[in-house]
């Protein structure tokens, strides 16, 4: 009975969402329905420069287009709104060429003025706090229009990775130029809602609510007129909040969803049992796509007793990664060996770290951990928990409650710490609170995150996120979620010095692996975070109505359809026969 009720509930939900769809006669087979794993708090606000769900509900997958798209398969930047970007000799100036004939959906031309305007707007307003905006603000010293299709960026420091870091959707999003003719009229860009929104993409905003966002194809799209790309086949795109694994699985099994967010491997098998049209990244076990954001346990290094590096090392020694792999990921991922994602291009750096002996050990060493804890003056109490001066050794671990992967990993860690004598407790918090309040302001002792995420083909990006330059006091916002652990002190300074030198070097410099290993030595001593496991995203894609989804065999790019590169997925979709 429960099963039927849930199915009913799910279908009602979908019917409500599709109400307007029927009204305007877009057939189901012309519609692509994507899964949204969060509520859209303010569906009539499209100011992506400020916090909130303002991009991943289709806005940056369908309406706004990026300048480039990093191709995860080739490691190259695929040109999109821009056609090329070239540096000067020391990487301190970059000249970008824009594509000709690009238009905003209201008919205005997209050109260098829009790019220059948006960069200057972000530079002049600290309240535009999105990560992409914050990075541009710190990296770009000035920007200048050469002609309508050429823009020159002068950087505050030489940066060989400037295009990938800012304009290539390397992780989740990229810096999106906004229409000057709309935004220049605005008094305060931090409070502007940008509603109704316009973009250059092949879809325009149709309607939105807290649980869905609907986009309709713009048949007058510039790309089709200029021959850049054909019009995409889907006439309508819907991002629908499905609310949890069970309901997304039911929707997928009954063809009411075309691409679903992460599910556990057991659920995926069950969906396939009911609906053989559903596919994953790999055709066989483990099905999942290796996501570049490896998981970690972030430790706030300002809160006693975790402000002691020995205590953090003790926690690192207690954690048994293999159990996390087996219980939380049901064997569908692997234990991390370093902070880096285990991509092929990262291998030289991972190898260098492991050769230097700084990798995380494969097996836990609880005895060593106990020695470290006892070295800090703790004694084992009669109830099996350490105590010092009558106070029990305890820790609250904040975890985003949006996914069972997150909560279950922390359940496993809580169990391991408890058995080792640390009274650990999971504190599940809602997605918005977790990213909006807990992490950036340092209001936690430990938390489950992936904030070392960033490097996919070079080591610097991830490593630069834990330098002392990003340390702010607890209660202030960490810039771009960097070093939310607030790791400081001599060890961190030695680390920062090396990472800063790495920042000026080209990505293929042969000295890099050695420097990575040296810097990593300081990181392994300081332990601002503990690498846990690689992340594997099992994203069910439905071939009942649409084919051409990205897979390991058809790897035109990766399948994370909440990222800004999803334009490529949408252009690749074909109606199923």
């Amino acid at each position: 009975m429960t099963l039927t009720r849930r199915t009913l509930l799910a279908s009602t939900m979908l019917l409500t969402a599709m109400g307007p769809a029927f009204a305007q006669d877009v057939a189901r087979e012309d519609t692509v329905i994507f899964d949204l794993d969060r509520t859209i708090k303010d569906p009539e606000n499209f100011n992506w420069f400020t916090a909130g769900t303002k991009r991943e509900h289709g806005a940056h997958q369908a309406m706004w287009e990026p300048l480039f798209i990093l191709n995860y398969t080739t490691g190259e930047l695929d040109p999109w709104l821009a056609t090329a970007i070239t540096p000067n000799d020391d990487f301190s100036e970059w000249t970008m060429t824009l594509r000709e004939g690009v238009e905003w959906s209201d008919g205005e031309a997209f050109n260098a003025d829009d790019v220059v305007f948006t960069v200057n707007m972000v530079k002049g307003n600290e309240e535009l706090s999105a990560r992409e905006a914050a990075v541009v603000r710190t990296q770009v010293a000035s920007v200048e229009k050469i002609d309508d299709l050429t823009v020159k960026f002068t950087l505050s420091e030489p940066n060989p990775r400037f295009p990938t870091e800012n304009f290539g959707v390397r992780i989740f999003g990229s810096f999106l130029p906004m229409p000057e003719h709309v935004w220049s009229e605005v008094d305060n860009p931090a409070t502007f809602a940008f509603y109704p929104p316009i973009g250059t993409g092949p879809y325009t905003y149709a309607s939105g609510a807290t649980n869905r966002m609907i986009w309709d194809r713009n048949d007058d799209w510039w790309g089709a007129k200029t021959g850049f790309r054909d019009l995409p086949e889907p006439q309508r795109l819907i991002w629908l909040e499905t609310g949890g694994e069970e309901s997304r699985a039911q929707l997928m099994a009954t063809n009411q969803l075309d691409a679903a967010q992460n599910v556990s491997i057991g659920t995926f098998e069950a969906i396939r049992f009911q609906n053989p049209n559903v596919i994953g990244w790999f055709a066989d076990y483990p099905y999942a796509w290796p996501d570049p954001c490896a998981r970690q346990l972030e430790i706030n290094t300002t809160v006693a007793p975790w402000d002691s590096a020995e205590m953090r090392q003790a926690v690192a020694a207690i954690i048994n990664r293999n159990q996390i792999v087996n219980v939380a990921a049901e064997g569908a991922t692997t234990a991390s060996r370093t902070m880096f994602t285990e991509y092929g291009a990262m291998q030289p750096y991972i190898d260098a770290v492991i050769e230097a002996g700084h990798g995380v050990p494969a097996q836990p060493d609880v005895e060593a951990a106990k020695a470290l804890i006892e070295g800090q003056g703790y004694t084992m109490g009669s109830d099996g928990f350490y105590e010092k001066d009558g106070e029990e050794l305890s820790v609250d671990i904040h975890v985003n409650s949006a996914s069972t992967e997150y909560t279950r990993t922390i359940d496993v860690i809580v169990e391991q710490l408890t058995r080792a004598g640390i009274k650990a407790k999971a504190v599940p918090v809602e997605n918005g609170v977790f990213w909006g309040e807990v992490l950036p302001f340092g209001s936690y002792e430990m938390s489950y995150s992936w904030l070392a995420c960033g490097s996919v083909n070079e080591p610097w990006t991830s490593m630069s996120r834990y330098t002392t330059a990003s340390v702010v006091p607890v209660g202030e916002r960490s810039p771009g979620f960097n070093n939310t652990a607030r790791w400081d002190g001599p060890e961190a300074e030695a680390y920062t010095a090396i990472v800063d030198r790495m920042g000026d070097m080209a990505g293929d410099d042969p000295a890099l692996p050695g420097m990575v290993a040296e810097a990593y030595g300081h990181l392994a001593e300081g332990v601002p975070f503990i690498p846990l496991v690689q992340s594997a995203k099992l994203l069910p894609m439905n071939t009942t109505y649409w084919t051409g989804w990205p897979t390991a065999e058809n790897a035109y790019n990766h399948p994370a359809f909440w990222w800004g590169h999803t334009h490529q997925i949408i252009h690749n979709l074909e109606k199923a026969e």
Binding site: A253, E269, A270, T404, P428
Partner: protein, 311 residues
């Protein structure tokens, strides 16, 4: 036709069976509904006690068993058979269902009982005070309980629990108890009002007994069956509230309760994976618990109200 019984007195037309039942009602507490209800509830308590003695309780912790094993004699979607080490199967986080239930079911009962005891105690005290003392005291208590009874408890509790984060079983019971005293207060006040004017109370008053003595030594014993009935009804409500919170994921985190088991099952896609034992077993136990409480309640009604007793 008349029959002679042992004492030789004439009885109206009654079969032997009816006579047996008559005799049983000589002691109103020997009520079959009451007995069955108590047996079901005691069964759950016994399961909790025996389970703790004979079963390995460490299996309630995450990662202590293989994942998603079915109960003995069944197969899961992957074709794995049940194992004797985990006779009722395991959940998606590697916890043994038997161990979870052994700990979880008495926990759910405990929350209900504790919340109800606290709520009833407050209710008895306030109800007697209001009914017996009257005047300003009565007005204050009556208005307070009338206002409180209009507030939907689950709504407030969801906010409370979300703010507290991880709560202990006791704290949860106390929070629930804060919404469990209004109806006993009102009911008891009404009873006390009618009883206040009766002869024995007047008598006690004339003999100079103190207010407390009259309220709790003279009047209370007459209300016992009635209080019991109300108590059991309150336990049921408390458990429903507690399970409601747990199913929303707002109960204690690391302490197993039936509601939390169901929450985790739903959250991990147990329905579509056909892991029926994961959500089914706690549901059955909850049903047993509610049927037991209902039977006790019906039984107590018959005890306190002889007209309900059927021959």
């Amino acid at each position: 036709m008349t029959t002679q019984n042992a004492a030789g007195a004439a009885k109206p037309d009654l079969s032997a069976r009816q006579i047996r039942r008559m005799k049983r009602f000589d002691n109103p507490w020997r009520n079959p509904k009451l007995t069955w209800g108590a047996a079901l509830i005691l069964g759950i308590v016994a399961m909790g006690i025996l389970g703790r003695i004979f079963w390995n309780m460490d299996l309630v912790f995450t990662g202590s068993a293989p994942l998603k094993l079915p109960p003995l004699g069944f197969e899961n979607l992957r074709g794995q058979p049940g194992q004797t080490d985990f006779p009722l199967g395991t959940d998606g986080a590697g916890r043994d269902l038997l161990a979870l239930i052994v700990i979880g079911a008495p926990n759910s009962l405990f929350v209900g009982l504790l919340a109800s005891i606290i709520g009833m105690s407050i209710g008895i005290f306030l109800g007697f005070s209001a009914g017996f003392l009257g005047g300003r005291t009565d007005d204050t208590i009556r208005i307070l309980s009338d206002v409180m009874i209009t507030i939907p408890p689950l709504l407030i509790l969801v906010v409370f629990q979300a703010a507290f984060g991880d709560v202990s079983l006791t704290l949860m019971a106390i929070l629930i108890a804060a919404f469990m005293w209004q109806s006993p207060t009102r009911l008891i006040r009404a009873q006390v009002l009618s009883m206040r004017e009766s002869g024995y109370v007047q008598m006690a008053r004339l003999s100079g007994a103190s207010t407390m003595h009259i309220m709790f030594r003279e009047m209370m014993p007459n209300l016992v069956p009635y209080l019991f009935g109300s108590f059991i009804a309150n336990v049921t409500t408390s458990i429903v509230t507690a399970v409601g919170l747990e199913v929303l994921g707002l109960g204690p985190q690391r302490i197993p309760t039936l509601g939390r088991i169901i929450y985790e099952a739903i959250n991990s896609g147990a329905l579509i994976q056909n892991l029926w034992w994961w959500w089914g077993l706690p549901t059955i136990l909850l049903a047993v618990m509610f049927i037991g409480l209902l039977l006790i309640n019906l039984g107590l009604d018959e005890v306190s109200n002889p007209r309900l007793r059927k021959l």
